[in-house]
Symmetry: none
């Protein structure tokens, strides 16, 4: 039985290419280019498999996954991303993912991953497990510190990401369907807790934490 698949990736060229690849394995019922659209469409379409990236506008893939595991628990999540670090991979599984691939993975792995998750199994690209070993052999001299970003609530991360993407308070309010006042509240709480005092510092923090890229 061909799985119904939803694909999320903000690079539309890659999205188009992926679609072609995936069509060999199942029916692509939709494609989206940001995290928020993903959450929307996933609820409408209830796909069997969701293929998603980590870095996406409006809502990053990890936070999207956390929402999706609650909203559409029957949809299996397959991450397909550039990030080849064990940290991201473990975060992804903690967020409810069933598989983790990187864009350097062989195309065949996509097929294997889809079939694995449809059987209720998990799949992890061998390219990462190798990195895990390498990381264990060469302990941290890279600043791979545990992220204090988890000190923030999901909602706060969501707001922080949008701030760092350059959205104004009003725009964020509209996107989240909440009042401008609430956004302001979240922002000030974030600033309190992180001891940051400007949009610029929040932005740098978000970049450092990988919530947004440059």
């Amino acid at each position: 039985m061909r799985p119904r698949i939803l694909i999320a990736d903000d690079h539309s060229m890659i999205l188009a290419g992926l679609r072609k690849l995936v069509e060999a394995e199942g029916d692509v019922v939709g494609t989206v280019e940001d995290g928020r659209a993903l959450v929307e469409e996933a609820q409408k379409l209830r796909p069997d498999v969701i293929l998603l990236d980590i870095s996406m506008p409006l809502l990053n893939g990890l936070d999207a996954a956390r929402q999706l595991t609650k909203l559409v628990p029957d949809s299996k999540l397959i991450f397909l991303t550039m990030h080849a670090t064990p940290t991201y991979a473990t975060e992804a599984f903690k967020a409810g993912a069933s598989a983790y691939l990187i864009k350097r993975s062989a195309a065949l792995e996509l097929k294997q991953a889809i079939q694995a998750v449809m059987r209720g199994q998990h799949y992890m690209t061998p390219l990462i497990t190798k990195d895990v070993l390498a990381a264990t052999l060469h302990p941290p001299d890279a600043p791979m510190r545990q992220r204090p970003v988890t000190a923030l609530t999901p909602r706060q991360r969501e707001v922080l990401q949008l701030i760092a993407e350059g959205k104004g308070t009003k725009g964020i309010a509209t996107l989240l369907n909440i009042s401008v006042k609430t956004v302001e509240f979240h922002k000030s709480r974030i600033m309190d807790e992180l001891d940051l005092h400007s949009t610029a510092e929040l932005t740098k923090y978000a970049v450092a934490e990988g919530l947004v890229s440059l």
Copy 2:
């Protein structure tokens, strides 16, 4: 007549997807995953079109392009990369490229680019043309804009740095002993020239240019 195409990208998942996309436009005569292999294969295959990324192992796309324009001058080069900066685009054209796309470009652009270069024309993704034209109209005599940051005046960089450090307009005015109005003027000009529209984006730009650190 269907063009013979060689594709180079080090992310094999993406390579596979691109191949599917490209097959609608021409015959994929080969795929490679690093810059050196590209130079090798290009000489053997003499393709009509070469689709290549900038960041590749062993030899980066720009340097590969410089070699290819000499070794296989009849092969048209189409860059397809993540890098959305005018600098990279102009470098690409100086290195002999016939087209420049980014992975955020619509899939349709790939078709358009291939057809354009086959007609001997050039193609530049609309997503960055605006910035590139400013740079490419000047470049031969005056290498005034090697790095985009040099497009700013010293005063503008000064202000930008303070913005990115989290200072408010008022604080900057005090620090520089100028009026708040003047600071606002500089800020708006910077935004104009860089086509950025928020403090967050200015901050990310400043970080990317090394004006401030995270």
